[in-house]
Each structure stands twice: as structure tokens, then as C-alpha cells.
Symmetry: C2
Subunit: 348 residues, 2 copies
Amino acid sequence: MAAPRTISLDAMGGDHGPAIVVPGAALALERHPNVQFLLFGNEARIAPCLADYPALAERSRIIHTDIVVEMQDKPSQAVRRGRGSSMWLSIEAVQKGEADFAVSAGNTGALMAMAKLVLKTMPGIERPAIAGQWPTIARPSIVLDLGANIGATARQLADFAMMGAAMARAIFHIERPRVGLLNIGVEEIKGIEEVRQAHAWLKENDLPFTYHGFVEGDQIGQGVVDVVVVEGYAGNIALKTAEGTAKQMATYVREALTSSFAARIGALLARGGLLALKERMDPRRLNGGPFLGLNGIAIKSHGGTDAFGFSKAIEVGYNMAESDILARLAADLEALHGKLGKAQQVQE
Amino acid sequence: MAAPRTISLDAMGGDHGPAIVVPGAALALERHPNVQFLLFGNEARIAPCLADYPALAERSRIIHTDIVVEMQDKPSQAVRRGRGSSMWLSIEAVQKGEADFAVSAGNTGALMAMAKLVLKTMPGIERPAIAGQWPTIARPSIVLDLGANIGATARQLADFAMMGAAMARAIFHIERPRVGLLNIGVEEIKGIEEVRQAHAWLKENDLPFTYHGFVEGDQIGQGVVDVVVVEGYAGNIALKTAEGTAKQMATYVREALTSSFAARIGALLARGGLLALKERMDPRRLNGGPFLGLNGIAIKSHGGTDAFGFSKAIEVGYNMAESDILARLAADLEALHGKLGKAQQVQE
């Protein structure tokens, strides 16, 4: 039987606050009946939502705070003024050992800054990364960094590879994930110096994953690897570009299937397949991106998601906690840094 | 009446060589009956293809060479061993003033290296860029740099903005194109230093285009601007990621519309709309990416395209030559560099 996890939720985060966080928690509870919840935020707003879910209410505790981080707050503002906010407290519960992981649908920059400040980076880790699940024609892949930082040294890229592999192990249950480095294919130029150096290290060293080598942008969606590693600027641009392209294609398909009376009838006949298509393209299924490299599990949910999507973000944290990701990752990172340290000494 | 342009073609480039280059030229000739062609490559392979197109044969001259740049050649190899190749000679014809522009479907890296060596960069330009046409839900946009170089200084980004605007003017006939800088939206971090500096310059100066400000990856496909400026590493990753996502969506749609007998009938009824969809997603329509910033027009065609696609790459070069892009761009760049020079002096 699974351990009785405690889950810390920023009930005020995102576009809808408790209206989606509470029913999202209720869905998660159906899947994992012995978890319990700490709900941080405005009690007057949370309690009425909770009243609709008696089973959840029994396993939840509301911790009231008036302070809320707004979606438009800058990270530095949020960190200065947001101590004691629902976001801050939800992360602090993880740091204090009162919860196994935290989930927030709030402001990404603020959440990242707070998570870093409260949970601190793991030993030997210079920078955390935001990871996300990327839909592919095969099973989903993990892509990181999606924008926690701009630029990355070779060593940071190697760390990201290790963190991404740990996440794939935790949420997809793949013992030896295939990891690729995102690069560009203009022959000789072959990517930036840092990417080439990371490539050399990952190729040479015995690691707890299968290093696949370089992948290009068009291979992400083909599911060529389980984990795609990239620095945060290009990673964020890739993510947004893929989202934009998917939306654009959806517009085209919709227009094609409503372009005439016959097309409308056709779409009606094909509705089974089209519903399956809609489900495959549903971004809620893959909601939930953890900050990796911290001494605790903090999950960012999409701000505009609904209860189903929020429950999926909880599921990511749950699987990470169940897999005991942090202990294993800490050991793996220590081993990696030992090897890279030696490699650097040999080079000098 | 349009000037009688002379077009220089690398007849051996790409996956199919003369088999697509020659019929591609024939299609271009139908559109522009008074152009003439210089076809560089193996006469024994070109002549039989040309025999099928008497009208084209009359307006073409084959310049024989045995030397061919292979798709897998490295740029440095190509430049060393490829002098006198069909690719080299086709560009040299532009440099010598014998042709108005060159088109090649060959190896991108080699073509770029040769074009830079033979045509040289324009006064004040440090780096050329590869530009491409990006399909959007509105009219296509131009995106650059797609991978000519990795990284870009603020000044190089400002140059790219000017070059992209010139191309939009030439091929879309928009007198004041809207230009955006690709960036990421994680609040405070807001992109790299170079991008912020370029943003400040483009905002402050009076330029021959409308500077829109930052755009994010998901806005490219929405056609928010006519020109998207980005350094080549992230630009190439964005392009490849969009291509991959489009392919992935196409797979989903195909599977949805063949998932059952009813779906197949539905697809048949909707075939008008679906054909229009296929046409919208047809990458051949937007084939042809120029190297910008050189003293001459050289167009890269996709290596795997067909005759129709190749004719579209010729069309890009034709429109650029017709618009007298180089003279206007040289003047615009001189004015820009004057302003930026002053701005830098004021800052110091």
C-alpha cells in the first residue's frame, strides 16, 4: 500500500484559484484515497468550494492567509512582499517536512524564485530547471529547461540530463530513459560550445541512462528520446513555437471541416476519430512541470487549466514523491560530479 | 515590362538534381517568359532533361562542370575542393554580374560558406543570415536567422531586422513591414542582454519599418508580425520544432480520419476542405530561403523539394531582384549604422 502522502496546494494560484484547485484535489483523492491535503489561501473562498466535496474536506486542512501573489507580480516583488502568501506557505510546508510536495498554478517566475529561495538547490547544483511533458506520437517526452534560466554551461546541461532522466524514471517508470541533447544541424557549426562539451561528457561517461546523442527540433514530437535537454532560452522558444503551431493546425483542421455542408456532415461521421484527436491534443493531460534540482518537490500547473488539468499536475508530484526521486537523484548527481571533476582535471 | 533577368541555377543540387531543377525552371519560365537561365552542372545529365522543355532549352545555356558538392560534404571541405563545382559557379555568375541571382537546392552549410566567400558581406554587415518564409494563419511571415550563425550581438539583431524588412518588402510588397524580436516571457528575466539591447535600439530609432516589440514563439504562427528576428541557434530550433509539430499533427489528423469506416466516409465527404487543408500545409509553396547581408542574391531551396517547390525558390529570387533589394538595403543599413553609432557614442 502506498504511503499516506501529504500534498500542499496553493489554493489561490492560477486564473481560477480554489474553483479549480479544490475540485482538482478531489479528483486526485479519487485516484489516491489515502492522501491528505494542506490548502493554503483565503479560507472564506476555499471553504465554500470544499463544502461540495465532503470526502476531500475530511482529508484537508485549510491554512488561512490573506496574502496572494498576483499573476502579474514580478519575481523580485513576489519574493519581497509575498512571504506568508499562499504560494510561499505551500512551498514552505515542503521545506518543513509537513508535505511531500507542493503544487501551484500561480505566476511561474514568482513560484520559481520562491521555490529556489525556500527549498534551495541540491548539493552541487548551480541552477534549477523547469521540466515539462511534451506530447509525441509515441509516449510523452520530458523537455528541460523550459525557461528557468537563459543559457547553460556544459556542466549545467549534464545536470539537466540527470534531472530529466530522474523525472522520466519517476513519472513514466522507465528505468533507463533515452536522453538527447537538442542541437541544430548546420553541419560543421553543430551547436554551441557548451552543447558540444556536454555531448562529449555524456558520451564518455557511464551514466544511469542511455545517452542518445544530439536531437533536432523536429525529432522532439517524434518521441525519439524520453528526455530532451536544452538551455532555457531555446527551450522556452521551442515550447511556445510548438504550442503555437499546434493551435495553428487546429484552426486549419476546424476550417477544413466546416468549409462546406458536405464537410460538416463528413466531420459528423468522423466524430469518433475527431474526438480521439481532440483528446490526444488535450494539453490538460500533460499538465504539471516540476522545478528540478531543488531540495523538495514543487510543481507548476498551467495557470489557465481546469480541475482535470490540475489533478494531473498533482499526479506528477505524487509519482515523483512515490519514486523517492530526490534521494536517488542526489546520489546520481554526486557520482556524475565526481566523474566530471576528474574529466576536468585530466583536461587541465 | 519586367527586365530580362538572368537566373543562375545549380542544376546538380538537392536530392534529385536536374530532374527537378530543369522542370522547376520551366515552371518559372511560364510565369516570367523573358527570363533566361544559366544551368551549371553535368551536361550529360542536364541535356536530356532539357530536351523535354524546348521553350526552356531556347532560353538556357548549360555550363558544364564535373565537380559536384555532395549533401554530406562539410562546408570547409566544400570550399576547399568545390571551386569550379556547379554550386560555386552558379554563385560566381552572380558575383561577376552575369546573373541576377542564384538558386541551389544543395547542402546548406556549403552554400552558405561559398556564398559568403564569393559574394562577401555588405558594407557594415558582420554576419549574413538565412531567412525563411513561415506559414501563419494570416499571410506568411519571414523569420531570420534560421541557423547561419549561433548567437548574435544586439547590432547583428538590428541588422537582421533591417534585412528581414527588406525581404518582406521585396517578396510580399509591404512597404512598412511589422518587425518583432523573438523573446521568452518569463517576467523579469525577459531574454538575453543582446535581445534587450536590440529592443531598446529598435524602439528608439526611426526606421523604415514598424517595430512591434517582443513576440513569443506561439505568436509566430498567428502572423502577429511580418518579420521575426532571432539569433540562429534558437531560430533553427524554432523552425525545426514547428516542422516537427506540424508533421505530428498531420499524423494525428490522418489517424483520426481513418480510424473507422464512418470516419473514412466522413473524410471523403469533407475532401474539399481537406484538400484545401493539405494545400495550406504544403511546404513547397513557401520554399526558398535567401542568404541576406551579402553583395548578391543567393537562394537556398529545400533539398528534397520537387519542380513546383524549386520554381517557388526561383520566384523568391526573382521578386528580390525585381525590387532592387540590395541597393535599398545598403542605403537603409548605412542609415541604421549611423544612428546606432551615434547611440553608442552617447552611451559612452
